[in-house]
Amino acid sequence: MKVDVLFFAILRDISQSDKIEMELDNEMTIAEFFTQLCETFPKLEKYASIVSFAINSEYCDRTQMIHDGDEIALIPPISGGNYG
């Protein structure tokens, strides 16, 4: 199955890409997916504890199942708005 993976901010600096298409062998959880992704981008591993995930623009936790065609976003800590 195929999924799109989006990278933002500091995670984009690591992946050197806004978006990649990935081929997964089977349906899996976000946690399993992240482990697999770290094989391609080993530097991602140290962000494991602070990265959040969204599937199809919806925040999800790491037990969530990924399905064919999903858009998976890796969301580093957000900093919208302004200071204060």
């Binding site: 989006l6 969204a54 999800c60 976003a73 900093s79 919208g80 708005g81």
Partner: protein, 140 residues
């Protein structure tokens, strides 16, 4: 209404969106790029967003604010791209019949925005650039 834009935010035009003959109070928040942060000099700031999702999250915030307070009109605009000192990066305007509701709802929007809307900023200063620390969003 919610909007993500890469253009300068026109506060005056946005205030027009909050006009409603029944409203007595409009509370507005303007977040501007400032020249310092955590003791360091800031020269400019670049904003990036996951736009589709950011709009989706802003719409959720608007809906939640409208559930909690009797809001007549609401406008939330966040600007992306490179911005300079004094530029308005976010503007929130809320009009209600009563001012206490307008203040509470406006504050709720900016507080929640910082916790849930996927936008990131990079700070440029005399010693280079860096991603600004942020909040880890929690799935509901």
């Amino acid at each position: 209404m919610v909007e993500i834009t890469d253009k300068k935010i026109d506060v005056d035009a946005l205030l027009k969106n909050t006009e409603n003959p029944a409203t007595g109070g409009v509370a507005i928040f303007i977040g501007r790029v400032r020249n310092h942060a955590h003791g360091k000099i800031v020269e400019k700031m670049e904003y990036f967003g996951y736009e589709k999702m950011a709009i989706f999250e802003l719409e959720k915030i608007e809906a939640e604010a409208r559930q909690k307070w009797p809001v007549r009109e609401m406008a939330i605009v966040h600007r992306l791209g490179m911005q300079h000192i004094g530029d308005a990066s976010v503007v929130i305007a809320v009009s209600c019949d009563h001012r206490a509701d307008a203040f509470d709802a406006c504050r709720f929007v900016i507080d929640t925005l910082k916790k849930t809307v996927p936008i990131w900023k990079k700070e440029y200063g005399p010693n280079g650039e860096e991603w600004v620390d942020g909040e880890i969003p929690q799935p509901e």
